[in-house]
């Protein structure tokens, strides 16, 4: 199933920023509804063979045929498909744990990302077993008991695993012993997905989707003037399901 979670990654920060601030400010490429509504026009531009018409414009590379095909498929559905419910189910228990650990409450909106993280955790021999155990105990225990007995219990291993999960969501990276990022997941990694940027009212360095000269202003509500673009939440204020400790 092709969802917004797949499609949104076709638009780079530069596409979104340049479109919004320099080309056509009615086209906000980080807004699924707008992209879907403008789908025909976007499809025409990304699939255009004429170098003076195609988007993104040269010297940026045009979309691959596979991206164009997937975009067309997503556009042709009757409503905006944001999330694949089957993937959401699959990621559910990991996402629930991750929301507690990260302090972000909307992680279930992107199961594609969650499952990538889970797969990267499973690929690590020092973390794979611990991650599954942590997911299971989190699902089995009341929240307070899980925090008290497991996260902050006498065995420090769960804390180590939890920190790796937190860092992965916040930065897209595993860290080395010295405390520096050591692995962003390769060329199609998750550096730009890190939650830290939302948390600090900024945007990933090298990925700014807002456009305009936003930096001269103080960041505002709804992620305005953070450089992130419209999808940012107001940092420090999770929308629902607060994990605030008693």
């Amino acid at each position: 199933m092709i969802t917004w979670n797949n499609i949104k990654r076709f638009f780079r920060g530069i596409d979104i920023a340049m479109m919004r601030s320099e080309v056509d400010n009615t086209i906000t490429l980080d807004q699924p509804q707008t992209v879907w509504t403008s789908g025909d026009g976007i499809y025409a531009r990304v699939s255009n063979q004429n170098p003076s018409q195609v988007m993104p414009p040269p010297p940026y590379a045009p979309w691959t045929p596979e991206m164009i095909q997937q975009f067309g498929q997503w556009r042709d559905t009757d409503t905006v498909v944001l999330v694949d419910p089957a993937l959401q189910m699959q990621a559910q228990s990991f996402v629930a744990l991750s929301e507690l650990l990260t302090g972000f409450s909307d992680l279930n909106q992107d199961p594609v990302l969650a499952l990538r993280y889970l797969s990267r955790l499973h690929a690590r021999s020092d973390l794979a077993t611990g991650v599954d155990e942590l997911i299971q105990t989190h699902a089995a225990l009341p929240r307070e008991q899980f925090i008290h007995d497991v996260l902050e219990g006498p065995d420090t291993n769960p804390k180590r695993v939890a920190q790796a999960i937190i860092l992965l969501w916040y930065t897209g990276a595993f860290f080395n012993e010295a405390g520096f990022p050591s692995d962003f997941g390769g060329a199609k990694g998750q550096y730009t997905d890190g939650l830290v940027w939302q948390a600090i009212e900024a945007h990933p360095m090298g990925y700014s989707a807002e456009g305009g000269r936003y930096w001269q202003r103080q960041p505002g509500p709804g992620g305005r003037d953070t450089g992130l673009g419209n999808t940012a939440q107001r940092p420090g204020q999770p929308a629902t399901g607060s994990n605030e400790l008693a």
């Binding site: 530069i14 507690l100 830290v196 450089g227 999770p238």
Partner: protein
């Protein structure tokens, strides 16, 4: 034709200088045959380079740019660790006593791929450090600011500089007109303006200036305005920051960015395809310069392609623009017997080639403001303080410029990613995860500030590039060996700047001010005053083939022409006899334009159309 040289001009290096000179030569009103030898591969695509940056574990200046065994380059990580910085595994063989901490790229576009874009001119007094302030060991330039002014103006137009005419007229003189209005100062800068500007700090009334930068504040030459990606070093994803590919593509007759029908490109015409396109040979590493014994003129350049094949090319004029370290290496690789019968190397009758290696060494101070300043937004730096760049204090200590960072503690610590690591691994019970962690991360990062003082260096024979006697690169070419130290003059600058930077951060309302010395870093020294500092490189490599009036103690003249070989030009930071405090690229480009003009004038009378 068959008896003549292969080309009119051969340029070694397709970086900032090579690209701009090729562009000027290819647009000359005489048809010139121009070849560029580039050690690295062609620029593949901006997406690939940006993705390489995203994927890189360390977001260092070299992160997006590939390394290759045949065209190796240094990385800042090479000198991160005092256990192994002198190890042979690193391209530069560092012999100390201190690590040379600046790097360069060997890739199409060169080091200007990863430059910040700060486009400052040297100040008039920077050309006269020796005569004006009687500084021991200092050198005057063989030209004055006024001699370069028109080339500065032209360079600013070529690369597209955004700046405030009003703020910089006092420094540069009347009639100043930047091609574009200034880049807006960040919210963070504005807090400095509010709280620090006008304060008396270490003998100066501080003025916070918007920095002239080769970063578009509006559409210019077909390139878009800056949208604040905060990754100028090492890569601008929108190419609002100038990089040499624009002039290179034009020089090669290729259109870089066709006019997109949905957007008017805006003022500043995009460099048009050259009427007489230059040629380029990628993956071609020059390793020897030959001299005609009778005339003393350069007679050819030998180069190896990455597959190991040896080639040779001839021309009327030769320009080495491979940056200060590689220029010196290539000259030192090329034996020459002087007319007096002395065994020397090319362009080196003075013995000065490779000596006087300089950088703008850097002191960082960082802290947390009481009120949020919201860093990690906008270009990496949009403002600075120039009060300490000039004046009689230079008799005693190095001048320095202060750069205000927009990227929190990213440079010294790797924030904000490392901030999360720090908080989750050290916070107490109930604090290291969840909403508390998120809030702590927010509170910390929105208050992070960082200042850099960048110091001038003095030329010294003890800081130099020589050839390694033991190590070669993947093509069998000897590698550069670096000897480096900091003069007491520069060290006294550090002592003075510590007071200044602390004063500025105090006035801003900053707590937890620090300049923590990394116990693993080899780049640490203690001044006579007893202060211990960790210094960093600015990436400003200067001084290995300095210009001067006296052929006895300089390598090139004011046109960057070799004193020894009239058809050889050495253009770049290597030609600087003193460093001043301006980021060197704009001056390098001004020198390139001056040399281009000279070469075109000469060749016009030599080359038959």
């Amino acid at each position: 034709m068959s008896d003549g040289p292969d080309y009119d001009v051969v340029l070694v290096g397709a970086g900032a200088v090579g690209s701009l000179m090729a562009y000027k030569l290819a647009h000359a009103d005489t048809k010139l045959r121009v070849l560029i030898l580039e050690a690295g591969p062609p620029y593949d695509s901006i997406e690939n380079r940006v993705d390489a940056y995203y994927a890189a574990a360390s977001k260092t200046p070299d992160a997006p740019w590939p390394d290759a065994p045949q065209a190796r380059r240094p990385s800042v990580l090479d000198v991160a660790n005092k256990q192994d910085w002198q190890d042979e595994k690193y391209y530069l063989r560092q012999k100390g006593p201190l690590p040379f901490s600046s790097t360069y790229e060997r890739y199409s576009g060169g080091t200007a791929n990863h430059w910040l874009g700060t486009a400052l001119r040297l100040l008039p007094e920077d050309f006269e450090l020796a005569s004006r302030y009687k500084v021991d060991g200092a050198r005057d330039w063989p030209l004055k600011y006024d001699d370069l002014e028109k080339y500065y103006t032209e360079a600013e137009r070529e690369i597209g500089v955004s700046g405030s005419d009003q703020q910089w007229t006092n420094y540069y003189g009347e009639g100043l007109k930047f091609p574009m209005p200034e880049i807006p100062q960040s919210y963070l800068d504005q807090q400095y303006v509010k709280k620090v500007e006008g304060k008396e700090i270490n003998g100066q009334t501080v003025k916070v200036l918007s920095t002239p930068q080769a970063r578009n504040s509006q559409w210019y030459q077909g390139r878009p305005p800056c949208v604040g990606n905060t990754s100028c070093v090492p890569i601008c994803p929108v190419r609002a920051k100038y990089d040499p590919s624009h002039h290179l593509k034009s020089a090669l007759g290729q259109i870089q960015m066709p006019t997109n029908s949905i957007k008017v490109p805006g003022p500043g015409e995009y460099p048009s395809p050259a009427p007489n396109p230059a040629e380029i040979s990628y993956k071609s590493v020059a390793y020897r310069i030959d001299v005609d014994a009778k005339s003393g003129l350069i007679s050819g350049i030998a180069y190896k392609t990455w597959d190991g094949q040896e080639n040779r090319v001839t021309a009327r004029r030769y320009v080495l623009c491979a940056h200060a370290v590689e220029n010196a290496k290539l000259l030192l690789l090329s034996p020459w017997t002087t007319p007096e019968g002395k065994q020397a190397t090319v362009a080196n009758s003075s013995g000065q080639v490779g000596l006087n290696l300089m950088d703008h060494t850097i002191l960082l101070l960082w802290g947390l403001t009481k009120e949020p300043v919201y860093p990690f937004r906008g270009p990496l730096s949009t403002s600075g303080i120039s009060n300490y760049r000039f004046g009689a204090a230079r008799k005693e200590r190095a001048a320095y410029i202060i750069e205000i960072g927009n990227e929190g503690w990213n440079w010294p610590t790797g924030a904000p990613l490392t901030t999360v690591h720090q908080l989750t691994t050290t916070a107490g019970s109930g604090e290291w995860f969840g909403v508390k962690l998120r809030e702590a991360t927010h509170q910390h990062c929105i208050r992070q500030v960082r200042l850099a003082a960048e110091f001038e260096s003095l030329p010294s024979k003890k800081s130099c590039v020589v050839l390694s006697k033991t190590d070669v690169d993947g093509l069998g070419i000897p590698r550069p060996e670096i000897h480096y130290e900091l003069s007491e003059y520069t060290q006294r600058g550090f002592d003075d700047a510590l007071i200044t930077l602390q004063g500025i951060l105090d006035a801003l309302g900053t707590t937890e001010v620090q300049s923590t010395v990394d116990p693993n870093s080899p780049g640490v020294f203690t001044t006579k005053k007893g202060n211990t500092f960790q210094f960093r490189g600015a990436g400003h490599i200067m001084g290995t083939h300095r210009m001067g009036k006296d052929p006895g103690d300089s390598v090139v003249d004011a046109d960057c022409r070799s004193h020894d070989h009239p058809n050889l030009f050495l253009v770049g930071g290597g030609s600087f006899p003193s460093s001043g405090t301006a980021n060197p690229t704009l001056t390098i480009l001004a020198l390139a334009l001056r040399a281009s003009e000279q070469i075109v004038t000469e060749l016009k009378s030599e080359v038959k159309p």
